[in-house]
């Protein structure tokens, strides 16, 4: 896990009634240098979140006192746009849509591994601003969104549409860990876990084209999590 810049630690609020899960998240992110606060029920969570002193909120969907969706609704009503990741036990799959509609920024189904939560938190903290750029650049890699052309340095790279879509997503999030689930959800609009290593195959194909033999590898695998595009050469 990436350690955040010590001068301004990321302020994370965890609203979770299950003590064990809460402890796990708090200790994991405190260790990584986050400034973590915890609330065990809806009303306290809302009070803390309402202060606006947080960069990101991780909240359980089902909370005692005040439901997660209600807390979220109240926050958005008060014009607080702090990114919120909702968590929910499996079996509440159709809740996902409701969570996102209520103003949630991401939705995680329990149980999840910490690396998944960390990647999603990082993705939200570094959410790419809507840009009018028509050319994306990461290191020597350049993508022309209008001409739909990709080049690495002087080398022109011929991509299939599906590879173009994947690279587009990667290039807007350089240096970020992107998990397989995130890629499936956001690139292919696919909301369940595929049994096969589909994502790896896609990334592998793209990698062969981006990282030619002898070139410094730009698409990296992150142990236990997913992939990352780095500005390498």
């Amino acid at each position: 896990m990436k350690t955040m810049d010590a001068s301004s630690p990321v302020r994370l609020l965890v609203i979770e009634d299950d003590q064990e899960t809460a402890d796990e998240i708090v200790s994991e992110f405190a260790e990584a240098g986050y400034d973590v606060k915890h609330a065990a029920d809806g009303p306290r969570g809302l009070a803390l979140a309402g202060s606006g002193n947080f960069d990101i909120i991780v909240m359980d969907r089902m909370l005692p006192g005040l439901d997660g969706l209600a807390v979220l609704g109240a926050l958005r009503q008060a014009q607080l746009q702090t990114p919120v990741i909702l968590m929910s036990a499996l079996g509440d799959v159709d809740e996902r849509v409701r969570g996102l509609k209520a103003g949630g920024d991401d939705y995680l189904t329990k149980p999840f591994v910490m690396a998944e939560l960390a990647a999603r938190i990082e993705a939200l903290l570094r959410r790419p601003a809507l840009s009018r750029e028509t050319v994306l650049r990461v290191g020597s890699l350049e993508m022309d969104l209008i001409e739909r052309r990709v080049r690495r340095g002087p080398r022109e790279i011929d991509l299939l549409p599906r590879e173009f879509k994947l690279l587009d997503y990667l290039m807007r999030r350089p240096g970020q860990v992107l998990t397989r689930a995130m890629l499936l959800e956001n690139v292919w609009n696919y909301r369940f876990i595929a049994e096969t290593n589909l994502v790896d195959v896609h990334v592998g194909k793209l990698r062969k084209k981006i990282d030619a033999p002898g070139e410094a590898p730009m698409i990296q695998s992150v142990r236990g999590s997913g992939f990352m595009l780095i500005a390498n050469g």
């Binding site: 499996l90 079996g91 799959v93 159709d94 849509v97 149980p111 599906r162 292919w188 609009n189 696919y190 909301r191 369940f192 876990i193 595929a194 049994e195 096969t196 589909l198 195959v201 896609h202 592998g204 194909k205 142990r223 236990g224």
Partner: protein, 447 residues
């Protein structure tokens, strides 16, 4: 503790029927009584009046003779007659004196014959010469008849009612006994003895038929429980395999890893094993969730061709890597009502399986066309195929044919397909592709 007899529903019904029976009997007897008392009396009265009129029109000279000769000896009619002078003296006939309270206006009344202890119906007429004519008829037989009717009612209704009540009590006691048996058996079953069955005696009555269907239900429950147990065993077994492997890897890492690199690699493989176990559990929970049917509420129009195209895009590189030719043949189809995510999971499972089980050099074709009842989606492969006798089995949880045992998979993909198809009211059938197999999914259009 069984309730008292009168509180049993069947016995209450008996009481009700008995009451109805008594009412109808009473009605019947009332009719008979009315027939004898009223109608018969009217007939008698009519004849009396007729005779009186006839006599009154006879000349006075003939009258006495007629009374003596014709009226009195007419025993069949049991007639009484008398002609009295204006002073009440008897002139002719067999009535000793004027009956008390007679009126001579042609009205008929009931009166006693003086000195004879007889009750008759009598009519009195004043004749033009001042004499008074009285004609009467014995109504004792009528009275007797009425008495017989009342007696019959008393004698018949009582025993009949007792009989009905007795039969009702007997029937309800028998039913109560049967119900008691059912109750006891049900309690034994609830205590966990699922092999127990309700007794049936082949009588074909309602209770017997109920017992038979309850027994069928119990058979079905027992079968489901066996299935559950088999599933539980399968889960345990399928979890033990990856977990044992994880354990072995971790042990090896502890004992033999000499470099951090090596150690990392071994731990990674252990984590992959745990992921496999987790995926298995997730898939099971998802099947349970889908079979719960809750998601039907979120159905919306779905374009299958678009989903098929997306799935194809997702799986093309996978097929390429396995050197399996992947073909797509999509006709435009009408949209159906469904859950987009689940349907794409369904198609994804079929396509993923097809590619997984098809050897290098083979081909997989995903096609979509518009049928009569709705869109028809087919996934055909050139893999090992599925023998006809196994085609229903593969949709069961954890079933894996021998041919597929060597390929990675959890035997749950097709159960998931089945659950999703059922949720949508779609049909999935497996056919032969010579070689390989064809999965055909028949969608239905929204009503």
């Amino acid at each position: 503790m069984s309730p008292p007899l009168f509180r049993l529903p069947l016995f209450r019904l008996t009481l009700l029927y008995s009451a109805l029976f008594a009412c109808s009997t009473l009605l019947l007897f009332a009719f008979i009584y009315w027939q004898t008392a009223v109608v018969e009396t009217q007939r008698v009265d009519g004849q009396l009046l007729h005779d009186a009129m006839f006599l009154s029109r006879l000349p006075a000279a003939d009258l006495r003779g007629t009374i003596d000769n014709r009226v009195m000896p007419d025993f069949r009619r049991v007639a009484h007659a008398g002609l009295f002078g204006a002073d009440g003296a008897r002139l002719a006939g067999n009535l000793p004196m004027l009956p008390a309270g007679m009126k001579f206006d042609g009205s008929i009344r009931r009166t006693d014959v003086p000195d004879a202890h007889l009750t008759i119906r009598a009519v009195g007429l004043s004749l033009p010469d001042g004499t008074r004519l009285v004609l009467g008829r014995n109504v004792e037989s009528l009275d007797n008849l009425q008495l017989v009717v009342v007696h019959a009612l008393e004698l018949g209704l009582g025993p009949a009612l007792l009989l009905a009540l007795g039969a009702g009590a007997l029937a309800s006691r028998r039913t109560r006994k049967q119900l008691q048996t059912v109750h006891e058996t049900a309690e034994r079953i609830m205590r966990g003895d699922l092999r127990e069955r309700l007794p049936t005696h082949g009588g074909g009555d309602d209770l017997d038929r109920l017992a038979i269907s309850v027994n069928h239900m119990l058979d079905e429950i027992a079968r489901l429980m066996d299935d559950m147990k088999a599933i539980g065993d399968n889960i345990a077994h399928d979890l033990r395999t990856p977990l044992t492997r994880v354990r072995a890897r971790l042990e090896r890492a502890r004992d033999s890893a000499s470099t951090t690199e090596e150690w990392h690699e071994m731990v990674d493989r252990a984590v992959a094993g745990l992921d496999q176990a987790l995926r298995l559990i997730t898939a099971l929970l998802r099947i349970g969730e889908i079979e719960g049917g809750r998601r039907r509420a979120a159905f919306e129009p779905v374009a299958l061709d678009q989903i098929a195209r997306e799935i194809a895009e997702l799986y093309e590189p996978f097929a390429e890597e396995k050197e399996v030719a992947f073909a797509l043949a999509l006709d435009p189809v009408r949209s159906i009502s469904g859950d987009r995510d689940l349907l794409s999971e369904l198609i994804s499972n079929l396509v993923g399986n097809a590619i997984k089980f098809t050897p290098a050099g083979g081909s997989v074709c995903l096609s979509l066309s518009d049928g009569i009842e709705g869109p028809v989606l087919q996934v055909a492969d050139t893999g090992p195929g599925i023998p006809p006798e196994q085609r229903d089995l593969v949709f069961k949880r954890f079933y894996r044919s021998d041919a597929s045992r060597s390929v990675e998979g959890y035997g749950l993909g097709l159960s998931l397909v089945d659950a999703i198809a059922k949720l949508h009211g779609f049909k999935v059938v497996i056919g032969d592709n010579h070689p390989g197999c064809v999965f055909t999914l028949r969608g239905t259009l929204p009503p």
